[in-house]
């Protein structure tokens, strides 16, 4: 019995030492956890995978240089990502889990319907949110901790001015959009804008995200003889089927997506020749500026496969890092204050949060937005435009 006590103390001492040096425990205070709630499977996965991938790349690069310095202390950045499949219930569950179980104070949610459903939870927990999502009222004075990090329809509609100037023969517009918060709001904003520009909106259709047969809807739309079909807010897989089926029904006009979609996924489903001439915001394959080329090389090295959607979906991480550096604090309130004033570099140039005149609060990202045209199956950059508001 005499030997038990020293042995017990030695064991406890060793255990305490091990606990002390274990990663993620003793160092927990030096880690900034950043939650990513995004669709990593299902039809919206072409958005979610690069969202997570871009965030991880930026954070990994900072960590490899010793971490982010805040108030003289180095912090490691950790991404905690969950798949919500673009399903509202799963989205709310993942956000709750990130906040309650993982204890994140900073989050990026992808998907308008999900972010709206999780709005109350995010606000109550005073979590700083940098979403990639389209939803009415998301950027609003009632959501002071939400900084929308991707251009929304009120910004991207500016491309219609370019179309009016360069393709004046286009006059009749039809819109097809998902039957949810994201779709309704996008359609409302775009319709109002294009009608003001003098376009005639000849058809407005909503579809459930699970639909694969668009023929009946397209028959209705094509009967109105549109020159162009806007598929704003629709996921790439759905757009691929729409384009394929519309071409069979004889539609010769263009398609436009002022949200964001991976045109290579669309071309895979619809056929390269059917996607020719499609205009898209936020997806560029060529020519890429030097800064984006470097990003492409680093992203490909880390993830094994290039994904052009990652260019614009890196915004939440760029904005967050810039704001933490400026605030020199890990307090969400101080970082939010910094986000309101910080100017930072994203992959297309200088970016900041603004849009107070339009939204009533300056929490919408503003930067020169890229627009492409698909030529021979590849998305070619045609113009970069600044939003109608600053």
């Amino acid at each position: 019995m005499r030997h038990w006590f020293p042995l017990t103390w030695v064991t406890l001492f060793v255990a305490a030492l091990l606990v002390g040096v274990a990663p993620g425990n003793g160092g927990a205070a030096d880690v900034i956890k950043f939650g990513v709630a995004t669709p990593l499977s299902g039809p919206a996965a072409p958005w979610g995978i690069p969202h997570k991938g871009a965030t991880e790349l930026i954070f990994d690069e900072i960590n490899s240089q010793g971490g982010l310095e805040v108030g003289g202390k180095k912090y490691k950045l950790e991404v905690i990502a969950y798949d919500h499949k673009y399903v509202i219930a799963e989205g709310v569950a993942t956000v709750n889990r990130l906040i309650a179980k993982d204890g994140v104070k900073f989050i990026s949610i992808l998907g308008g319907t999900v972010v709206k459903a999780a709005e109350e939870a995010v606000n109550e927990a005073r979590v700083l949110n940098l979403p990639l999502a389209y939803a009415d009222g998301l950027v609003s004075p009632k959501n002071p901790y939400t900084f929308h990090s991707f251009p929304s329809p009120p910004e991207t509609v500016i491309f219609w001015n370019w179309i009016k100037q360069h393709h004046p023969q286009i006059k009749r517009v039809a819109s097809i959009t998902p039957n949810d918060d994201t779709g309704w709001w996008s359609l409302k904003v775009e319709t109002k804008y294009v009608e003001k520009l003098g376009y005639e909106v000849v058809a407005r259709e909503f579809f459930e995200r699970v639909v694969t047969d668009f023929n009946p809807m397209l028959l209705r739309v094509l009967a109105q003889k549109p020159d162009i079909i806007s598929v704003l807010a629709s996921p790439a897989g759905s757009v691929g089927l729409m384009i394929k089926q519309a071409r069979v029904l004889g539609f010769k006009g263009r398609f436009i997506h002022i949200g964001q979609m991976d045109t290579s996924v669309v071309a895979g489903i619809a056929g390269k020749e059917n996607v020719e001439g499609t205009w898209v915001h936020g997806y560029v394959q060529t020519p890429l500026p030097e800064k984006v080329k470097s990003w492409q090389a680093r992203y490909t090295k880390k993830h094994g496969e290039w994904n052009a959607t990652s260019i614009d979906f890196a915004n939440p991480a760029f904005a967050f890092v810039a704001a933490v550096k400026k605030a020199q604090s890990v307090d969400p309130k101080k970082i939010a204050e910094a986000l309101s004033t910080v100017e930072f570099d994203n992959l297309w140039g200088k970016a900041h949060f603004g849009g107070k005149d339009y939204y009533g609060i300056g929490n919408q990202i503003i930067y020169p937005m890229p627009f492409s045209e698909v030529k021979d199956g590849v998305a070619h950059l045609v113009v970069q435009l600044s939003p109608p508001h600053n």
């Binding site: 995978i49 909503f206 009946p216 897989g237 691929g240 089927l241 069979v248």
Partner: protein, 287 residues
Amino acid sequence: MTSALLVQSAVIGLSIGSIYILMALGLTLMFGMMHIINFAHGAIYMLGAFVIYYVYFQWGVPYVAAFVLAMLLLGAGGYLVERSIYRPVKGGIEPTLVALLALTTLLQAAGYPVFGTLDKHVPPVFSGTRNVLGVTISVERLMIIPIAAVLVVSLYVFINKTRMGAAMRAIEQDKEAAALQGVNVNVINGLAFAVGFALAAAAGALMAPIFKLDPMMGEQPLLKAFIIIILGGLGSIPGAILGGLILGLIDSIVATALGAEPAFLLSFVFIILLLLFRPTGLFGHAP
């Protein structure tokens, strides 16, 4: 709605209806014989489509061979499900339903790590378009109609003109009496599972070049198939055919005239009204 648009939507409705019929056939066959609703039908449809993706598109095997392989593989899978799930619970309806639901969840969840998270596509097998009654329609969609017809006729001949089909009909009418007459109920049940799964696989294999592929792709067709077999009468093959055509035409003509939501609503209103006057559906009979 102009007459040209009406014709166009009717032709498209027939092609949509043919897809629905293919989905509903296997489902109604299994219900008719064993009174179970195969919740795994949508997942088997998905697997049939992925067999085409790998065997035809990735490995370059001719489409017809890949199509037959999909039916054989998943048909064998159906037989195994009968042996491993249905038979051990002695044909208990509720345990089988729960087990099939679990199988569906397992197959769908496994689909993402196995097949990948991004939507897949299969290049067209039948390319080009044809003009039918002044309507342009893709050849791949047109081809569904004769292929579905061949499968329906084959099933009809199998059920009505073969000894195994006669055994299936005997079990459907009275399982105990069939067993007393020397019918091996277990083997025939296994065969019904195999045929039901093979038909779901055929539907998925046909749809693969037309739509996109993902692990959840079977959910919507399964919902449509449920509506059809209730409309046509649970267990009735002629009912599944007529129900599929009616639903396809409603989905196309009403959706073209009024929009997708009224079409969806109307299909349910139609079923409710029908069931009020014919509780067993168009061709169903009281148990």
